[in-house]
Amino acid sequence: MSASSGDHESLRIARSRAGARKRTERRLGLLLCAPAAIVMLLVVGYPLLYAGYLSLFRADLGTPEANTFVGLRNYVTVLGSPIWWRAFGLTMFVTVVGAALEIVLGTLLAVVMHRTIVGRGLVRTAVLMPYAVVSVVAAFSWRFAFTPGVGWLVGDSAPLSQRWPAIGIIVLAEVWKSVPFVALVLMAALTLVPQELTRAAAIDGATAWQRFWQITVPLIKPAIMLVVVFRVLDAFRIFDSVFVLTGGVDGTASVSLLAYDNLVKGLDLGIGSTMAVLILITSAVLALSVLKLVDALLPGSGRDE
């Protein structure tokens, strides 16, 4: 064997050899992840495929013997229905307006919690309430607050029975509950920003806004992106507060609520599954476009390290 082929051989070994330690580690890694992965795959993956399958059938629980393959007819039905598009529009509206308000207010709240010189512990504890309170409970509080003759926020008008005021209250309930989460994550990111950087910039004559936008924001950008994507996707699946506040009447149903109604009231699994698939696709599109959008809007590169 020539020297160079021996050289080559040892290089191949260096790249491919996995000693006993690495092999055992690999096996353990797979073994430890397997149960969680299997549960997630089974409970998310399998029903998902099942939903895709069901969406191609007429699957009415009321008349199970009449179930037949209908191809894409369910999709045509749903996509041709003004009810679907109204729910879709409302959900998108709540998602966009809600997420935008949450990010702005969340950032403000994060700065207050991060910088306040009085009662920091009190503020941080209080802020956990909206996060921890059951969303149905919070929704009831808003509903009663806007119930004519009972609520402290209304007189005798009934905003919850008018479409746009009701949508406003839905957004309010959603924003109220989610701002603390946004603020806490951003605050944690803020504490990791080295103070020397902003101080140095201040000495260089940067205004407070310049310091925030050009130094702090790029540094906490990964956290912002994560929180925005998470909030958008979470807002898109809005269900609890709409259910409690309006029950989805008068054109205030979200897509989740609409799909639910098809299941529980309509007992129509085919149409429900079709909506489920459409919601899922929209979710994926939303996630990708939000990532792109945030990356483009904010200064700094999207990936840290």
Partner: protein
């Protein structure tokens, strides 16, 4: 305890770099061997291969003749003391020391006895119930050593165990490690960058550079007969004076003076093509002599500085570059300053001389080292 045989060990990174190139070394049962080299020389890689923490790319590793190349670390019965003691922060000192015993399934009472004995030996009995986080650095390293002692492993590996300690503690810990080895005679491989540690503790020292063994020998051998310039520079109490010189006939000419060549060098120099060499003189091999002596071995220098540290005094002076080779012909890493080469002499006891005065130094001819300036090989060492 066991004999460790490293048989043509090779370690390569997937990027192709050789970390250890073809290392063969047998550490006898009960022997204390130091791996000495600068950072990046591959000494830690050797240790990790013996520990089983890193794969062996090629070659074979045997403990007492049994091949363990593929044995996972937890089955090798090898203990390691790391540079920064890796203790379990949630366990007390006693629980930390007992941890290997717990894994081995040792009984509670037996384990408690062993822990107590070990703690007594290390002088940490008073801290058994404390958490590692509350201990000082030296105490933490003692606990880490205690963890290895309780198990009586086949092989004990130490990876710069005192490097993170301050100077005073370092000395204490070094003698503790020496004492423990005398007491238990565990086969030990000790990785260090510090030659004094290596020389003080080991039976043999292995000098590594870029993954290649430079010399294996007892501390005395390394000190008196370094095989090349690299070893000569690394080993020794004080850095060896290295002076550019030329071989002329039967003598060596340097800025310090002209000296007759020892017979061995004369023979070697006949084989060596060039006549440009590096003359190595240990600071301790220069002796301060009175003005009445006048022989060929005495040179006169002007002192730049005199530094006295209690029992020892270091004289600093500059050797002019007379007859020096062009810098180009020197081995990589050696440069010749224009003014000359800084050199030192070390004498015992206090010294009345001051900077600026001229003194006379006698050179111990038998201990002169002459290195080929091209290859760095020691011409005065037996081939």
């Amino acid at each position: 305890m066991a004999e460790v045989e490293m048989d043509h060990l090779v370690k390569r990174f997937p990027n192709g770099r050789y970390v250890v190139a073809d290392l063969s070394l047998t550490v006898a049962d009960g022997e204390f061997v130091a791996l000495l080299g600068p950072s990046g020389s591959g000494k830690s890689a050797v240790l990790e291969m013996v520990a089983g923490l890193e794969d062996i790319t090629r070659g074979e590793l045997r403990f007492d003749g049994e091949v363990v190349t593929e044995t996972p670390p937890w089955e090798r019965d090898v203990a390691v003391v790391f540079q920064s003691p890796a203790l379990y922060p949630h366990l007390t000192v006693a629980q930390n020391i007992a941890f290997p015993l717990r894994l081995a399934g040792t009984g509670r009472t037996e384990s408690a006895t062993l822990v107590r004995e070990t703690a007594d030996l290390l002088g940490i009995s008073a801290h058994l119930d404390r958490l590692p986080g509350t201990l000082a650095a030296g105490q933490r390293q003692r606990v880490a050593i205690g963890k290895t002692l309780v198990r009586h492993p086949k092989v004990l590996l130490m990876d710069e165990p005192v490097a993170n300690l301050d100077v005073r503690l370092r000395g204490q810990m070094r003698s503790l490690i020496g004492d423990l080895h005398t007491k238990f005679c565990t086969t030990t491989i000790y990785v260090t960058q510090d030659h004094t540690e290596a020389m003080a503790l080991s039976d043999r020292v292995v000098v590594l550079r870029d993954g290649v063994v430079q010399q294996v020998g007892t501390p005395t051998e390394l000190d008196t007969r370094p095989l090349n310039l690299f070893v000569a520079e690394l080993v020794g109490d004080a850095a060896m004076n290295l002076l550019p010189a030329t071989l002329e006939g039967e003598s060596v000419v340097s800025g310090l003076g002209t000296f007759a060549l020892p017979p061995a060098v004369r023979r070697a120099s006949e084989r060596s093509p060039g006549n440009e060499v590096v003359l190595g003189i240990r600071p301790g091999d220069l002796e301060l002599v009175g003005s009445d002596e006048d022989e060929a071995l005495v040179v006169s220098v002007q002192l730049d500085d005199v530094v006295s540290v209690g029992s020892q005094t270091t004289l600093h002076f500059t050797v002019p570059n007379r007859g020096a080779p062009s810098p180009r012909s020197l081995p990589p890493g050696f440069s010749v300053p224009v003014a000359g080469t800084a050199a030192t002499a070390r004498i015992s006891g206090p010294c009345s001389e001051r900077a600026g005065s001229r003194v006379r130094l006698r050179v111990d001819l038998a201990r002169l080292q002459i290195f080929d300036s091209g290859s760095g090989l020691n011409l005065s060492a037996p081939p």
